[in-house]
Symmetry: C2
Subunit: 437 residues, 2 copies
């Protein structure tokens, strides 16, 4: 009789060994890619895009089976829509790969360079990180985005996509592997660990020294589990308890369109606004208008006492109004809900945000110069908007092309992560025999 | 009867709560410092330097007790020398603080800035990281260096210095706290967790969300323990299995002074060379000369078969020659020892280094352009030198002023860490009412 616990551990160790072996193979492939010039990397990306287009039917067929199974398992409409990867979406993803080919290559950029007094010529140059690990939700377009960003930035990657998208991802990665092989690259460069299921993700967290950086994308629970358990460096992404603060000096004609756009233009994304803070000096006039606009857009309002009283008194048709609890201020609804609070001052707004925000994006609606300077300077988040929608926090919008995710932490990268954020640097010192005195 | 395990856990939880409370107090103090302009930060640094000078006797007296106790406990001469912090060394450290005041302030630098098509003006600005944690050896000058770098870069820090230096560090931090208090800053900004002993270091590793970044300095064992156990992001520093490769085209008149300097100018530091690789085409003529120079400097040689045969045949007076084992190639001696290996090719040298190096610094001695390009491009280390000593990898030498440590990993910072490496960025978007279409 075998102890089942020991058996389980042995299985995990086997998976860890296999995942480390995949990472080591990826590193060898990456060393080759790192020596490939920009022109050849761009050619490779364009060939991959063509292959995705010409074989889109294979991916769509695999996706149809994934979709059917997910529907049978009761996946909700929003997630099913994100899982969908039909021919036209594959074509759009292929177009994204071609766009990545047009982006500037960050590799080789000299970040700093100078001569020391002794004549040693120092240069700090951008180089690829090496082997990345990515754990993400069942969104097949992410597979294509990440593969193209990794090729352009000279990195290898191990992928663990959502279980529901396994057939779709296998079809996609199979096509990419065929192109890599045909053009003399090792397909180990862009590899999946889906064959190990959840153990594959656990093994990536343990693969210290084999994987350089792990990027989890998805729900807050998944991300925190990775942060807590990974021995590999992690970049936290995506959690967005996003605030808009309307100052006493805010222009109401800007404020209401921005709030509506930030809350309702797309629900369930990390840069959608979840909380509205309003200065008490403007609350009596502004909140009834804002609440009417939100009510017309079917947004449920969770209001603190003062905001509740003002909105309630306004008697807006069809308003869904309830009392906010303490829990509301820390909740990312990802739904047609908004928390509303009246604050006494700019200072109270800043302190509330810095206490409750996840550090993603906040926006101030104000015309007063000093209030704006204080808000942008004291708010401790990746992105601070002034008189603009929080929905602009996005690698595509920022001009990065595709994005790997949005970092909500401060190490290595903060905010949208594009090609530049997928690099590290190397110092090179060119000497003529210098020794240290 | 109380279960001692539960009691121990309760103690640890108490320490964790207290360390988190210190970190939270540090964060409040840091928010104030972050709003302080460069001129006032520099004034503060100069006042701290003056206070350290005028009260150097207090620090030296505390240090004398630490030194005596360490000597009684059998601390070796090298470590005792690093522990020593007499009046003249305090004065030198104070001078270092004044130097940090003269360095450019990285905070506020606009890293990137551009307008989006819709007119939104985007800026990515450098900001402080927040609350750092530092675990380091019994070197009291590091306390002063780190405090001054943190103040200049707008960061708070929790410090856990080596046990042997506790009195010295307490005296130093007491003087800094007095100045902070007198000038209206919260002394929580630069705080020690020495009062909790080793539990303080353990608690810092658990303080996720309270401490932003943990930097361990010291032996490889300490650093690996922190990397393996910390839930707070860590920057690995300092391990240096450093290589020099002498190419077939290397100039022997440059090579021998560089090897001697890199190996012997200062032993026991991370940028000292530990391994010498020599191309087989030059080994017969070069190795006897190199070995004679190393023997004259009392360096013990651990040679592979081919190198052993060549050096042995040369019959050098006083040579200490032994056969290298597999373990040698992964060992950082930190002593008057060097591993020597003959390689067949540049490619073998690069592959050997990338397999065995800790990623700190490597140097090539060569005159051939293509060999140098290939070496600098393929070597995967923080610093690559060409015809120069590996001893130049140092924040002071690179012009950073004092350094926090030398990062041997790829996330966030790589190579010497100065003020710029103690920052993160924040995006600010200045709009006029923009919403996302």
């Amino acid at each position: 009789m075998t102890n089942p616990q020991i058996q389980a551990n042995a299985m995990e160790i086997d998976v860890l060994n296999e995942v480390c072996a995949k990472a080591d193979a990826a590193r060898i492939a990456q060393a080759q890619l790192a020596q490939t010039n920009t022109q050849r990397k761009n050619e490779l990306l364009n060939v991959i895009a063509d292959a995705l287009d010409s074989r889109a039917g294979e991916i769509a067929a695999a996706n149809a089976i994934d979709m059917q199974e997910a529907a049978e398992h009761g996946m909700d409409a929003g997630k099913l829509d994100r899982l969908k990867f039909d021919v036209s979406r594959v074509n759009a993803a292929a177009q994204g790969v071609r766009h990545v080919a047009t982006l500037p290559d960050p590799i080789g950029e000299i970040v700093r360079g100078y001569h020391l007094d002794n004549g040693l010529r120092l240069e700090q140059a951008r180089v690829p990180i090496g082997v990345l690990g990515m754990i993400y939700e069942a969104r097949p377009n992410v597979t294509v985005d990440v593969a193209s960003l990794c090729i352009k930035s000279g990195n290898a990657v191990l992928l663990r996509g959502g279980h529901a998208a396994e057939r779709t991802n296998a079809a996609t990665l199979g096509i990419i592997a065929d192109v890599l092989r045909e053009y003399g690259y090792d397909p180990a460069l862009i590899a999946s660990v889906d064959e190990y299921g959840r153990q594959g993700a656990t093994a990536m967290m343990q693969a210290q020294g084999h994987i350089d950086l792990l990027i989890p994308r998805g729900g807050a629970g998944l991300i925190q589990a990775v942060v807590q358990n990974s021995k590999v460096p992690v970049i936290e992404t995506g959690a967005g308890n996003v605030h808009i603060y309307v100052d006493q000096t805010g222009d109401q004609n800007k404020a209401i369109p921005i709030i509506l756009n930030a809350k309702t233009q797309r629900v369930g994304v990390c840069n959608a606004t979840e909380k509205l803070l309003v200065h008490q000096g403007i609350a009596e006039t502004f909140l009834p208008q804002a609440a009417a606009a939100l009510a017309a857009a079917n947004v449920e309002m969770h209001a603190d006492e003062r905001a509740y009283a003002i909105i309630d008194k306004a008697g807006i048709d069809g308003v869904e109004l309830m009392h906010a609890t303490d829990e509301d201020w820390d909740t990312e609804y990802l739904a047609l809900k908004i928390g509303i609070k009246v604050v006494d001052s700019l200072n109270e707004a800043i302190e509330h945000i810095n206490r409750h925000s996840t550090g993603h994006t906040e926006s101030i609606i104000a015309e007063d110069y000093s209030a704006i300077e204080e808000f942008t300077s004291r708010i401790d988040s990746a992105v601070v908007m002034v008189n603009a929608s929080t929905r602009f926090t996005d690698g595509g919008v920022f001009g990065f092309g595709a994005e790997l995710g949005i970092s909500t932490q401060k190490m290595h990268a903060r905010g949208p992560m594009g090609l530049r954020e997928m690099t590290t640097t190397k110092w090179i010192g060119y000497g003529t025999g210098q020794v240290r005195a």
